[in-house]
């Protein structure tokens, strides 16, 4: 966040607050159950991403032909006359570090980007807690990075949702503040899984890649508002917007004398921005998904958390 001299008055953000609807809890519960079950089903002989391979016993599941017989529970077979395998996970509980960008730019869109990021983060927390992870929730924006919220048990999901619901888009500090800050990087260092939710517009990829290390997995959730994907939705010209304002710097930009040409150039730049993160993620084994804040988290989050 460089201090731009062109900072000026910023119009009110359309969606600065996070409102988690009443159905949200049931949605993330169902989502977490579904995602955890799917991971358990894929645990044997598959990519193990969310589910660890440690010795902590988690439970049983029906045996599938071809599975490692060492996991077969003979006692249960004797009692129930049905084949089951034991499911374990790492005894060392995985730590998740979930960062949400709550800078002013996340207040853009209807629904807002922060709303979408918070819903995705909440669903991720639910999944993580279901899988026994210890979760640290941090956010940027406002007066500065928030105090981390520690969540260790499923019962603490409510605390996490409260923290998410209290987020408000504002200020200039975005993900860059979180990933470039040595203190935050230190907090994330011991985590096996880092989830970053934001628009990734003003984040230095190098700072993000610095978070990688060891077997740590990095998930980048890039959310953009519908009008950011397609500014013509906001209207341009006599019947629409005269200028677009960067909510953080206050800089005003216009499509140019030829709005159609200006929009084409914008779309090219946005495509390049998203592609850059996508390519970077692919090159470094990082999970990356970009979506519209109008999308439901159930649509993109499974791929992001894979």
């Amino acid at each position: 966040m460089n201090g731009s001299p062109e900072r000026r008055e910023v119009p009110p953000l359309p969606s600065p607050e996070v409102e988690l609807p009443g159905t949200y809890l049931s949605r993330i519960g169902a989502f977490a159950t579904q995602l955890a079950a799917a991971r358990e089903r894929e645990e044997v002989g598959r990519r193990r991403t969310l589910q660890g391979d440690g010795q902590e016993f988690v439970g049983h599941r029906p045996y599938r032909p071809g599975e490692d017989l060492r996991r077969f529970d003979w006692d249960l077979l004797a009692r129930l006359d049905r084949p089951y395998v034991r499911v374990h996970r790492s005894e060392a509980r995985e730590d998740w570090w979930i960062a949400v960008d709550a800078s002013a730019s996340m207040g853009v869109g209807r629904p807002g980007k922060l709303q979408s990021a918070a819903e995705a983060a909440g669903a991720s927390i639910a999944v993580g807690l279901r899988l026994g992870a210890r979760i640290t929730l941090v956010s940027s924006g406002g007066e500065g990075p928030s105090r981390p919220v520690q969540l260790t048990r499923t019962a603490e999901l409510g605390h996490g949702l409260t923290a998410l619901g209290s987020m408000s888009a504002g200020g200039r500090g975005g993900l860059e503040d979180l990933v470039a800050s040595r203190g935050h990087r230190a907090g994330a260092r011991g985590c096996g899984r880092l989830l970053l939710f934001g628009d990734f517009i003003d984040v230095d990829p190098a700072d993000v890649l610095r978070l990688l290390g060891g077997r740590r997995r990095l998930h980048l959730g890039q959310v953009l508002a519908p009008e950011e994907w397609n500014p013509s939705l906001a209207g341009i010209g006599s019947s629409g917007a005269d200028s677009f304002v960067d909510p953080e710097s206050g800089a005003r930009r216009r499509p140019g004398e030829d709005p159609r040409r200006g929009l084409e150039r914008y779309e090219q730049s946005l495509e390049a921005l998203v592609a850059r993160w996508s390519d970077l993620a692919a090159a470094h084994g990082v999970s990356h998904r970009a979506w519209s804040s109008a999308d439901a988290f159930e649509r993109f989050l499974p791929d992001l958390l894979r």
């Binding site: 953000l13 996340m106 629409g240 917007a241 960067d246 909510p247 800089a251 140019g256 004398e257 200006g262």
Partner: protein, 465 residues
């Protein structure tokens, strides 16, 4: 308006220009520093165009749709104003002033001032004053002055030139009162002494300048005993006045002998003097001028007669082309003086071929035959017939004015003619051409306004799409 004037155009409905306030308001609103509509966008920086630079280039915004809307409004308002080419020339009105020169017009306007202003002077002064008041810049007029008498003056002058002096001179013979109804036409102006029939004349748009005037006492008839005077009061008996100068008769020497003898006897019987110059004579009896002798045309004989007599006469060719005297002296004046024609002649004796051999008018008798061969069949009838002719055309002395002419003429009237209908046909033609051009311009402006309005609408819809 000024711009239109420079371009040689004007608006028929200038009030329509008030509608220009609407497009002007739109333009002024475009100048108004309005709050820009800003939309927050986290990716705003991806736009290349910085607003600051754009703002420095353009302080106000008149969108394409609004610009075309302004154009449509301006064109529509101009069309509503009904543009016409401005007058390329000054208006030229053709006015015809018919001057009544009947005897009453030469009576004094004030009976108490016999030598003072006459009715004709007063009426003509009123007409010339109005003509002089016309603004040459917009009401330039040419005036045709016409004396309402056979062979009278007929000249065309500019409005400011005044009345021709000849019109103010009393005619040698008394003229009848004009038939005004036949003279009603666009641009006609009647100069007379009586107010005529106001309602009919007003609706016709003719001008009327009447002197009015009080009754003028004086001689209304002449007899062998002297003049009969009228006191100026209606129903008052005429009084025999003092004997005036003798009435004089001029008898042409070339007249046929019987006729000449008869005329002399008639004059003697009536107590009239014989001889002297034709000017001032109460009656002149003369032989029609005959070019036959000079041109070698042969004389012919014809049998004529009326009132119980007949005679064979030797015809001398008269002034008419077909050999006889002109029965009516030429075409009837459009002023319709009377049925007796332009010169006032009336036929009195026709030959077998219906050619006029004797014609007469007030104070004059013209004979178209030179000899009577032999004497008329009935000399008594011949004498009575001719005596009646001479009696009828014996002109009274100058002081005698008919009683009807001496009556009061009422109040003075001054009413200008309606100029609208008096335009020169050429001017009207030019105006028609200009009107046609104006209608084409109006149509073009209307079509342009519709096209611009449609374009504005399309741009507006595309902009909001």
């Amino acid at each position: 308006m000024t711009a239109l004037g420079i371009l040689g155009w004007a608006l028929t409905v200038p009030g329509a220009l008030a509608g220009l306030l609407l497009p002007l308001g739109i333009i002024l609103l475009s100048f108004r520093r309005r709050q820009p509509r800003l939309v927050a966008l986290g990716t705003a920086r991806l736009f290349e165009d910085r607003e600051a630079s754009a703002a420095s280039r353009r302080r106000w915004q008149l969108s394409g749709s609004r610009w075309w809307a302004v154009v449509a409004l301006v064109l529509g308002i101009l069309a509503a104003g009904r543009p016409r080419p401005a007058a390329e020339d000054q208006a030229v009105f053709v006015l015809t002033v018919h001057v009544d020169r009947s005897p009453s017009m030469f009576l004094p306007a004030e009976p108490s001032e016999p030598g003072g202003e006459r009715r004709i002077d007063r009426a003509v002064d009123a007409a010339t004053a109005w003509l002089a008041s016309l603004d040459p810049a917009v009401e330039r007029a040419v005036v045709r002055w016409r004396a309402l008498e056979p062979g009278g003056l007929d000249v065309t002058l500019d409005a400011g030139d005044g009345c021709p002096a000849g019109l103010l001179e009393a005619p040698s013979r008394a003229n009848p009162n004009p038939r005004w109804g036949r003279l009603v036409a666009p641009g006609a102006i009647f100069v007379t002494d009586e107010g005529l029939a106001p309602a009919a004349l007003r609706s016709s748009g003719v001008g009327l300048f009447a002197s009015g005037g009080l009754a003028v006492p004086g001689a209304v008839a002449a007899g062998s005993d002297g003049l009969l005077n009228w006191s100026g009061e209606d129903d008052a008996p005429l009084q025999l006045g003092a004997e005036d100068e003798d009435l004089r008769v001029v008898i042409g020497r070339e007249l046929a002998a019987p006729l000449r003898s008869l005329a002399s006897l008639w004059a003697e019987e009536r107590g009239l003097a014989v001889g002297g110059a034709p000017q001032g004579a109460s009656l002149t009896i003369r032989q029609a001028e005959s070019p036959a002798d000079d041109s070698g045309n042969p004389r012919s004989s014809s049998t004529v007669g009326r009132d119980g007599w007949s005679a064979r006469v030797e015809v001398s060719r008269g002034p008419s082309a077909d050999g006889g005297l002109s029965a009516d002296g030429g075409p009837i004046a459009d002023g319709g003086l009377s049925a007796d024609g332009d010169q006032g002649w009336r036929p009195w004796l026709l030959d077998e071929a219906r050619q006029c051999l004797v014609r007469a008018r007030r104070g004059e008798v013209e004979v178209g035959f030179s000899r009577i061969l032999p004497e008329p069949t009935s000399m008594e009838a011949f004498a009575v017939s001719w005596a009646r002719l001479l009696d009828e055309h014996l002109a009274p002395p100058g002081a005698v004015v008919a009683l009807q002419e001496r009556r009061a003429a009422g109040a003075a009237v001054s009413r200008a003619p309606a100029l609208a209908g008096a335009l020169d046909p050429e001017v009207l033609s030019r105006r028609a051409r200009r009107a046609s051009r104006g209608r084409r311009a109006e149509l073009l402006l209307s079509v342009g306004a519709a096209a611009a309005g449609l374009l504005s609408l399309v741009l507006r819809l595309r902009g909001s799409a």
